[in-house]
């Protein structure tokens, strides 16, 4: 019986369980629902849960455990000569046995008999049926494959029988529990609570898993390049990982990348914070509801634009524009029409990233400003303060912690942003302070190191994990600090 059929059967049993639990409770109620502790639907769900949940759990565990058991059993059935050849060839033999097993299922009885007696060639017989074998195939493989097939079939039947039995037994057990004063509602709600907990732990465990894998890969990198050299190195020159060179010739200094990242993020914030904040103040305090209801979504559309599109915009519009206008300016002032802003530069990336960040700043700040209680506004206006005095002296100071939190969240986005800087910032890992020259960022270098066909053994690729974990720690720190501030601010008005 196939797994999907089995699942379907479990669901059918669940339905039957639901309705029988429900009708049993209705019968017990004797026409008066208030005799029951829980509504009939809860009794039905309780029985259905008992019918389906244990069966589904056993099925899941079985599906994971059975193949492992079958593999090891088949492996044990292989002759000793193969067993002694080491893990790699044993694995290879097992793979071949499995394909033979798949092929045998397509053969008729006589053909199998011919193979067993050695009268027919294993490889050619199977090839005729469309199963390609990697090697010639040994005679022992036929026996092993048959062992494998028998086990698989037995396993299937055993699994179906056990799972269905559990479903039926679970259902019957639950139905016997149904009684007028039975607290089915509480039981069902406990199961719901459990599923909520499972859902949230999946999210958390995934994060933990990602961090762990990054840490272990970064750990491998740090066995090849010393952490000191990575964190305090001022030269980024990874070279290429030539085969056999060991790849240790490159220099992996984080500092130039970090400097570029922070510099570009700083320029972006310099651009986004005043504009976004002023927009938020206007939206929250001055704009009429009609204007607000159209302008605010429009502003938030900016946040929905994919960052790669901002990248194009930087590459084909902003960059060349800045370059040309700098040439004109230079010409007007000195007579020498040489551009002083590169097309790919810190300002280009910073400005475009700033545009991308405006809606984040304005939307978050707007929420925070509108959260300031109306009573404070009225209090200030009632004392004869103007709107702008009220904003400046009461609302902004009250909202300040929240706004700072919002800005930190925005900054962590700026630090982690990739596509815009890949296209607009350039790839030169340099340390300099001229914003009109290209610089590069951590994210750009991660992209560079991981583009192309790579093997994940050389420091040239593994460095991406070290860069990634560094970036992760920075943004995580910013986020945690921002959330801490925002939460503290919320408490103030509760």
């Amino acid at each position: 019986m196939s797994t999907s059929l089995l699942l379907l059967l479990i669901v059918v049993i669940g339905f039957i369980a639901y309705f029988s639990g429900r009708s049993r409770s209705l019968a017990l109620a004797g026409g008066k629902l208030s005799n029951l502790h829980s509504l009939p639907g809860y009794h039905g769900s309780y029985v259905a849960i008992w019918a389906m949940l244990p069966a589904a759990l056993v099925l899941g565990t079985w599906l994971i455990a059975a193949p492992i058991y079958i593999d090891s059993s088949t492996r044990a059935a292989l002759p000793d000569t193969v067993q002694s050849q080491g893990a790699a060839s044993l694995q290879l033999a097992l793979g071949q046995v499995k394909s033979v097993a798949g092929g045998l299922l397509r053969l008729s009885g006589e053909e199998v008999a011919a193979l067993e007696s050695g009268a027919a060639n294993l490889r050619s017989t199977l090839a005729a049926k469309g199963v390609a074998l990697a090697g010639e195939g040994e005679p022992y493989m036929i026996a092993a494959a048959q062992h494998f097939n028998t086990m698989t079939v037995t396993n299937r039947w055993l699994m179906s029988a056990v799972v269905l039995l559990i479903a039926v037994v679970g259902g019957i057990y639950a139905i016997r529990n149904v009684a007028a004063r039975f607290r089915a509602r509480n039981q069902v709600e406990r199961v719901i609570l459990g599923s909520l907990i499972v859902a949230s732990s999946i999210a958390i465990l995934t994060t933990v898993g990602i961090v762990t894998s990054m840490l272990s890969e970064a750990g491998r990198f740090f066995t090849m390049v010393s952490p000191f050299e990575f964190f305090f190195g001022t030269v980024w020159d990874p070279r290429f990982a030539a085969a056999g060179s060991g790849g240790a010739s490159g220099q992996f200094g984080l500092i130039p990348l970090l400097a570029g990242t922070l510099y570009i993020a700083f320029v972006a914030m310099l651009f986004a914070v005043p504009i976004g904040l002023f927009a938020a103040i206007y939206m929250a305090e001055y704009a009429s509801p009609r204007l607000r209801s159209t302008a605010k979504p429009l502003l938030e559309v900016l946040a929905g634009i994919p960052t790669i599109v901002y990248g194009f915009f930087a590459l084909v519009t902003v960059g060349p524009f800045l370059r040309d206008i700098s040439a004109q300016l230079n010409g007007l002032v000195t007579g020498n029409y040489q551009n002083f802003i590169q097309a790919q530069s810190v300002v280009t990336a910073g400005i475009v990233m700033g545009i991308m960040l405006i809606p984040f700043v304005s939307s978050l700040s707007d929420d925070i400003i509108t959260q300031v209680p109306r009573a404070l506004r009225d209090g200030s206006l009632g004392l004869g303060a103007t709107r702008s005095e009220t904003v400046k002296k009461v609302i902004l100071p009250a909202a300040l912690p929240g706004i700072v939190g919002a800005l930190l969240l925005t900054a962590s986005r700026a630090v982690g942003e990739t596509m815009i800087v890949v296209l607009a910032a350039g790839v030169a890992a340099r340390m300099q302070i001229n914003p009109f020259e290209p610089m590069t960022t951590v994210t750009v270098k991660i992209v560079n190191q991981l583009t192309g066909d790579l093997e994940f053994t050389s420091p040239q690729t593994l460095v991406a994990f070290a860069l990634g974990i560094t970036l992760f720690v920075i943004t995580l720190g910013l986020n945690i600090y921002a959330l801490y501030i925002v939460r503290k601010y919320r408490e103030q008005y509760e």
Partner: protein
């Protein structure tokens, strides 16, 4: 010369009430929230150095009327006021009137204590600072101290002027808000149910304070408590469904009102 008891002085004062000049005159005041009309041609005059209580069931328009007196309704979207309100002859809805200046003359204390998230000192100094009423540190210190004295709060807070105003108890916060309003030296103080969020002891203190403030300010107070209206006010106006039902001396209102609806409301038959 015979010495009158305090009660007798009050009584004499109240009897003379009809001769007290008007500070604010409301003529045919109507208020609309969008399509909905909240006040219907209210004619109500506010007497100088008098506590006028506005009473009536919830939603009767008493708070709306109060807020027309310093144009706080301007801050509500879609709110429209018709009719005429004057403050010492000046039409406060005249386009040439600066609403900011008006609110400095007609201060307001709100239902819920709403101190700014600043220190006690800065709360009181807020108004004088924006209106330039004081210059030097000494001036400010003086304004803050006298205002806090007037609000009966000085002795409780003099040692912690630079702690946040939000850290005070509810009753103290409300008196801080009164001090904040007083610091601007307004002529009229509007109070919108100033005691509804306070416990009885704090309420008693605020009521006592209202009594004292009357000598320097004209006070209009909205209240849901009949007892409070009777205790603090000299004149009472009763609103019902957006109409002014009756306006009279408080004593008369609570003993022998002209209108049956006032009688019913005071007796607790509706509301």
């Amino acid at each position: 010369m015979n010495i009158m008891s305090e009660a007798a002085v009050e009584k004499a004062l109240d009897q003379k009430m009809n001769t007290v000049p008007f500070k604010m005159i409301g003529k045919d005041v109507s208020v609309y929230y969008g399509e909905k009309r909240a006040l219907f041609d209210v004619n109500l005059n506010i007497r100088e150095n008098t506590v006028t209580a506005l009473i009536g069931p919830s939603g009767c328009g008493k708070s709306t009327f109060l807020r027309t007196l310093n144009r706080m309704n301007d801050t509500i979207e879609n709110c429209r006021v018709t009719g005429k309100i004057t403050l010492d002859e000046d039409d406060i809805y005249d386009p040439t009137i600066d609403v900011v200046e008006l609110r400095a003359r007609v201060g307001m204390v709100f239902q819920k204590p709403n101190p700014f998230p600043k220190s006690i000192y800065d709360n009181v100094a807020y108004g004088p600072r924006i209106h330039g009423l004081a210059r030097t540190k000494a001036d400010f210190d003086e304004v803050v101290e006298t205002s806090l004295h007037k609000a009966g709060l000085w002795n409780e807070v003099k040692d912690r002027l630079h702690e946040p105003g939000t850290g005070l108890s509810g009753g103290q916060q409300q008196r801080l808000c009164i001090a904040r309003a007083v610091a601007v030296s307004p002529e009229v103080i509007l109070m919108d149910e100033p005691c509804s969020a306070l416990d009885p002891i704090a309420t008693a203190k605020v009521e006592e304070l209202i009594h004292e403030l009357r000598t320097n300010f004209t006070i209009v107070i909205v209240t849901h408590s009949m007892q409070q209206a009777a205790r603090v006010s000299q004149r009472t106006a009763m609103f019902h469904l957006g109409n002014l039902v009756e306006e009279n001396d408080t004593d008369k209102m609570f003993t022998n009102p002209d209108d049956q609806r006032t009688q019913d409301y005071i007796m607790g038959r509706f509301g």
